[in-house]
């Protein structure tokens, strides 16, 4: 299982689970299609803004790097 910082920008990974306890954050991510098992692409990491941009189900969602660390992935391929 990998955290987001272990994934190379441009790579795809499969979301496995959420760690941590912010229910409404996790719930909203799931409602946006970030369900365990879903394929997610890490579009870019921007150091200046400290944000990551993810693509899920064709939409582009960005999260703060620290908050995105609650997501766990396994690499596809």
């Amino acid at each position: 299982m990998k955290a987001l910082h272990e994934i190379r920008p441009g790579a795809r990974a499969r979301l496995t689970r959420f760690v941590g306890g912010d229910r409404s954050f996790h719930r909203r991510l799931m409602e946006l299609g970030f369900l365990p098992g879903t394929s997610v692409r890490l579009v870019r990491c921007v150091a200046v803004g400290d944000l990551v941009e993810l693509e899920v189900r064709g939409s582009h969602i960005s999260l703060r790097r620290s908050e995105a660390s609650e997501l766990r992935f396994e690499l596809e391929g």
């Binding site: 229910r23 719930r27 991510l29 803004g49 969602i61 908050e67």
Partner: protein, 740 residues
């Protein structure tokens, strides 16, 4: 809390159709196109979320009311705005249920958009799906089987394009159809809990649902039970939820956790399971996946170097435009109102009424209208930034820096605009969704050095600080001006950091920021927003500004000296008999008149008030004459200059470059012969102007945006206290260090 039905509704008995959907689906464009010119902006009861309504005449001629509901990704809320959206769609108290809902769906992101469609279907609210942005599918090599989608969802689906204006007749026809026969739009839930455990949770929660929510519909009961299971817990912020309902939800969640079940995941996965099983039959791929143009653009615009450079250039353009491009127009408006005053003075007989009309009413209107160029221009920029999708990138680029100050990334544009003028900047806080972010930004914006402070700084610096150069090339006067900009920016940052950690302390909400595809701006929507914001300012903040300027006029005018005009005439006549050239005599006549007018002002209520506040402002180095200036400056900071002109008997038409006024100020002495204005007093005065909320229009704008008097009062008090303390520290500190 039970609120009255919104006013727009109680008067008429029109059927109400709510337009809802995900953010960035072109929902507002659809709303604008559907409704004619008969639109209203109100507020939802008890909150400052705007409620946009309009009228639509259906094909049959029947009229309906359309409500634009705030955008939301789902029916579980992360903000007050989303709560409103949910209440408006589901018809939960205090809002009444709509007669039908139109969900605007982005055809290019069908899978995610269908999630909320399924939720609304569960609630059995008559539904029409507006499948928007159909025109964008071609470029993506995709096609949607609309008939199939409509069949599987069980409701009318209308393919359309809001920006191109296609599909609206069909949408109106389908709304009519659903209103005539609600069954057409309420096929019932597409998905029901399959596991026994979840069904048990649902029936346990159902029993505690208020009767008026469920309206004895089994499907709706199940939907609301699922909603409660997903939305409620120990720390949810929903008001008006029966305690026993919340208790049973918490109980079921504890049970589920013990059994290693995850209710949220089960429910959300259930809905997405339905979608995923069918999405490939809805969306047909016609060719290879097209490389996303937006992603290529973002490779540049979100680039840490190039992206930031472009961002700074764009913001510089916005700032420059607000700061100087609007200037000719504003001068034209001011000139126009001046000429109007002139015309009225010549028509009306001179006297109190004439003074009231010109000095109170027309000047008041003038100070409202003068903001329009900046408001229109700023909302042109904001409209373009929002419509193209760039505003989301601004939030993306600025998130980190703004977060350190406790502000939202989107607060950047309003804060920057504050350097030109706080009024349009405060209106621009609308670009943020959360009320907390908006109000916090409004409390900080007025600290930025706006253009109205410049005349005051110019006057003080020009009069009290010698022109000279530092280190051989740095002009000291310019340096002082830059210093004032830096000081105000720093104070705004400090205020933001402090307020966000105290009064606006909020549990950190993790950021979920959608970066929508770049799109061409839809000009009619941009124009509409410019007009709407300007109108709202004119009618709502304008009234307050008008009243305050009349009050200020009265303070500066009363008690009247009825003999003033005769005394002026006498003084002029006396001067006329003196010897000298005609020019000299005319000059002396004017000075004699200015001197008398100064005398009247000094004995006016404002003059007395100036005396009354002298003990308070004396520790800052100010005398009562400056006190009068401060009172006059409440209308607008630059009025300080003309008020001081009258106080010192050099007339009210002086500007900050006036050498006579500068000389008067320089030479003004106290009774003991010491000078009133030393450089230290000048610095103290500038610090005071930098920090005090000397601007009725700012307060009126905050009132308009927060719909409460509490916030403008808080703003005024905290800024004035801050200004007093800072000026006190500067003046007394300076004296302690041996300066005068």
């Amino acid at each position: 809390m039970k609120h009255a039905v919104p006013a727009a509704r109680s008067g008429s008995k029109l059927p109400v159709v709510a337009i809802a959907g995900n953010p960035n689906t072109g929902k507002t464009t659809v709303f604008n196109r559907l409704t004619g010119s008969d639109r209203k902006v109100g507020n939802y009861p008890g909150v400052t979320v705007e409620r946009h309504t309009g009228r639509l005449d259906l094909p049959s001629g029947r009229a309906i009311e359309i409500v634009d509901v705030p955008g939301t990704y789902s029916l579980s809320a992360r903000s007050r705005e989303e709560e409103i959206a949910i209440q408006a769609v589901a018809g939960l108290a205090p809002l009444e249920p709509p007669d039908a809902v139109v969900l605007v769906v982005d055809a290019t992101q069908l899978s995610r958009n269908l999630y909320i469609v399924l939720q609304v279907l569960e609630l059995e609210v008559p539904l029409v799906v507006a499948l928007n942005m159909m025109d964008s599918l071609v470029a993506r090599n995709e096609e949607i089987d609309v008939a199939r989608l409509s069949r599987d969802l069980g409701v009318p689906v209308v393919p359309m394009s809001g920006s191109q204006g296609t599909g609206f007749e069909e949408l109106a026809a389908q709304i009519e159809r659903v209103l005539a026969d609600p069954q057409v739009g309420t096929p019932g839930s597409r998905w029901i809990p399959v596991t026994e455990a979840l069904s048990a949770d649902v029936s346990a929660v159902s029993s505690k649902l208020p009767r008026e929510w469920t309206r004895s519909s089994a499907s709706r009961e199940r939907a609301l039970a699922l909603w409660a299971l997903l939305s409620l817990d120990e720390s949810d912020e929903w008001a008006g939820i029966p305690a026993e309902l919340r208790a049973i939800v918490i109980e079921r969640r504890v049970l589920a956790q013990a059994a290693d079940r995850h209710i949220d995941l089960e429910v959300i996965r259930g809905r997405y399971g339905w979608i995923d099983a069918r999405i490939d039959t809805f969306v047909k791929r016609k060719g290879p996946i097209a490389k996303s143009l937006s992603e290529s653009i973002d490779a540049v615009l979100l680039n840490p170097v190039a992206g930031f450079a472009i961002f700074l250039v764009l913001m510089a353009i916005v700032f420059q435009a607000l700061f100087s491009w609007t200037d000719p127009l504003m001068q034209l408006i001011e000139g126009g109102f001046d000429s109007l005053s002139g015309v009225i003075s010549s028509v009306l007989p001179s006297g109190l009424f004439q003074q009231f009309v010109t000095g109170g009413v027309i000047a008041g209107f003038g100070s409202i209208v003068v903001f329009l160029p900046q408001i229109l221009l700023l909302f042109l920029f904001i409209g373009l930034l929002e419509d193209t999708g760039y505003m989301a990138r601004v939030a993306f680029l600025m998130d980190r820096s703004m977060r350190m100050l406790g502000l939202h990334g989107r607060a950047f544009v309003p804060m920057l605009s504050g350097y030109a003028c706080a009024v349009p900047a405060i209106l621009a806080t609308r670009t943020m969704e959360r009320q907390r972010d908006r109000t916090l930004t409004m409390m900080v914006i007025p600290l930025m050095t706006c253009s109205a402070r410049l005349p005051v700084y110019t006057l003080v610096i020009g009069a009290l600080f010698p022109a000279g150069v530092l280190l051989g090339f740095v002009p000291t006067q310019g340096l002082l001006m830059i210093g004032m900009y830096l000081f105000s920016t720093l104070m705004a940052f400090v205020a933001a950091a402090v307020l966000s950690r105290t009064l606006f302390k909020a549990t950190a909400v993790p950021l979920i920021l959608e970066l929508p595809p770049y799109r061409y701006p839809h000009w009619p929507s941009v124009l509409r927003m410019m007009i709407q914001r300007s109108k709202a300012f004119l009618f709502q903040a304008g009234g307050v500004i008008l009243v305050i300027s009349i009050v200020l006029w009265a303070l500066l005018t009363f008690p009247r000296d009825a003999t003033l005009e005769t005394r002026i005439a006498t003084a002029r006549a006396v001067v006329a008999t003196q010897s000298g050239s005609p020019e000299e005599i005319a000059g002396r006549q004017v000075s004699a008149e200015d001197e008398l007018r100064a005398e009247v002002l000094r004995s006016s209520y404002a003059g007395r008030l100036g005396h009354a506040i002298e003990p308070v402002i004396a520790p800052l180095g100010f005398d009562w004459k400056i006190g009068i200036g401060l009172i006059g400056a409440f209308a607008a900071r630059e009025v300080f200059v003309s008020t001081m002109g009258v106080v010192y008997g050099v007339g009210d038409s002086v500007d900050e470059e006036s050498t006579t006024l500068r000389a008067k100020i320089k030479d003004e002495t106290r009774t003991n012969g010491s000078r009133v204005y030393t450089p230290l007093v000048g610095l103290s005065l500038m610090i005071f102007f930098a920090l005090a909320c000397q601007c009725m229009s700012t307060l009126a704008a905050v009132y308009r945006e927060t719909k409460s008097w509490g916030w403008p009062v808080f703003l005024f008090v905290y800024m004035t206290v801050l200004a007093w303390v800072a000026s006190f520290a500067v003046y007394q500190g300076g004296r302690a260090l041996g300066f005068e």
